[in-house]
Symmetry: C2
Amino acid sequence: MAAHMHKTRRTPAPTIKTLAEITGYSIATISKALRDSPVVAPVTRDLIFKAAREVGYQANARGMALRTGKSFQAAVLMPVTAARDYEWDGVEYTQVLSGVSQALEGTDYRMSVHVIRDAADGVETARRIVDQGLADGLIFSGILADDPRIDLLVDQHFPFVSMGRCRKDLDYAHVDIDNEWAAHAATARLLAGGHRRIALVNPERRLSYALDRLDGFARAFREAGIAASVDLVVEGDLSTHFGRQSVIDLLQAAEPPTAFVCINESTTLGVLSGLGSLGRQVGVDVDVIAYDDINVSAYFTPPITTFYQPIEVLGRTLGQFLLKRMEGEDPKALRQVFRPTLIERQPDNLGGRLV
Amino acid sequence: MAAHMHKTRRTPAPTIKTLAEITGYSIATISKALRDSPVVAPVTRDLIFKAAREVGYQANARGMALRTGKSFQAAVLMPVTAARDYEWDGVEYTQVLSGVSQALEGTDYRMSVHVIRDAADGVETARRIVDQGLADGLIFSGILADDPRIDLLVDQHFPFVSMGRCRKDLDYAHVDIDNEWAAHAATARLLAGGHRRIALVNPERRLSYALDRLDGFARAFREAGIAASVDLVVEGDLSTHFGRQSVIDLLQAAEPPTAFVCINESTTLGVLSGLGSLGRQVGVDVDVIAYDDINVSAYFTPPITTFYQPIEVLGRTLGQFLLKRMEGEDPKALRQVFRPTLIERQPDNLGGRLV
DNA sequence: AAGAAAAATAAAAACGTTTTTATTTTGATG
DNA sequence: CATCAAAATAAAAACGTTTTTATTTTTCTT
């Protein structure tokens, strides 16, 4: 049962030279054959492939890398907010990584992860990746309304796919969630339920999707012919702490909100915590609609209505797009915006009292 | 303000040859000087460093890699359970990655992440990393009682650090949490509070730390001279779903538990969800003690008593140990077991009714 | 001051590829 | 069957390092 042991120093891995010796062809021919070059005769190609298979030849990534100048790395920038203590944050990133790695499976590319602490760190890291050729392509998120990374990479013609769109009109590959739509839908639903004082728990305004959500929020009010409760928009990091504190602050207002639109599951948990400690009950005193990408809202007590978008799907698309982008495909063709699906778990009209 | 633009194709990055031309020394001397070899005269060493700094020389990783046979990659195996749908899972891994990357900062090593779907995939990936030299060192977690990855890597003398210990007596670098101790402490606390029917929500038994926790659980009962409620031990994946379902099942028993010891925050959330939907109140009908590594338990309603261990610290230690291990340090010297700290948020004796 | 030893530097080879250029073999043409 | 073009293969160079070996320069000894 135990794994096959080879305690003895195993024979050095076969190289292209090994194949040359075995088959009698020159290393040049071997190389071309393995790359499926049309200049090598089909019959010898087959011979060489067979030999390669027999000795278990695996191209040496380092040799390839040196010669071609490529690194065969797809880099992902992973933000970790050096937030207060260690907060529940960035949890969905494992899903992104999982998705990207799925897309890369079976290709020559490996995924390298670069942790970044803040926006400036992100730019610096991106620049280093480009300048030093640390990777052949780049994936990143947390897109700012005016994101210097996008500027840099577009300018340098470096292949990348962003998770999120900036507010500049540039041609670049991206994957995004339709935040304007989601915020609109959530707000409209609450308005239809009779709510008028609606709080929006939003990320910092320099983030592009914060603006998207603000837009959707405002549009819902506009379409309903009602003045938007813009005084109930709070902005901060997306931590649980922030969610909790926001609720505590907002409910002290002269005209407190009767409903909350939340940005992600960690903030939502904080909001629920805040409501709980103030003795307010979801579905009775207030309504909450969340956005969720790790499918956790079902387990909150009570379960809450959610716009759900499995983030791994975005990750997979990011990876696929990056592969195509590295092949030279036009970025204009590589764009996709996902609409989350609504999962109704509450009536969202204070148990019917509002309509 | 805008970033310095260089639209023109920038001059090729300076190499060791560039430095040779500038300084007039041979590339051999340049190389040795940059490596701080003692054979080169201090004065020329300084000259060469100065030149290197002036032209912004950065060693080409690919060239180094090819020549030395090293990859300068520290690989991390990241498990993603292809669990039902997309569950809240592996969330703490961003902290691990963050910690590892912190440790690697300023070194020549980069972090590459390999996603693995299950144990078999983990072994296969580890083998590929070793055989193809995809990395110079490896970090992984989810250690089984008998873990083939540890066997493999010890056998091949491949540098690695495991997050967790297997049950075999082998010499290998590792970082762990004292799960036996934590489970014992939690159980003892509940026993002292008067609980007798205590449920243990545990991971699958093939995981090494599941056994550790079982040991601690049993020891607490033994020390109290009470028969352990082993019939209340449930085992499964660590999903929120599992936590919820476990509660629902357990509370239907003839002699249901009055207290729960939970394994991680995601399971705890499920447990709380289950209790909530059965109308049981924490601190009134049942007590819950959790283990937490992302500091989220404070936000559950009500906040619950927790053994807390910031996982990023483990990650940092993993990275530090791996660096030393790759330098050839004796694995015996590279072991650390952390004891989480108890954060008391509940009396854990059913509001005093039990003592 | 000659010679040897030590120190400093240079030259050359190697790592495993890909690519450009050169050579050989094959096939077609008249 | 001789000639030439096309096809197939081989040789050589290159990518940027490190390391081994060789050479030059300096320092020490007597």
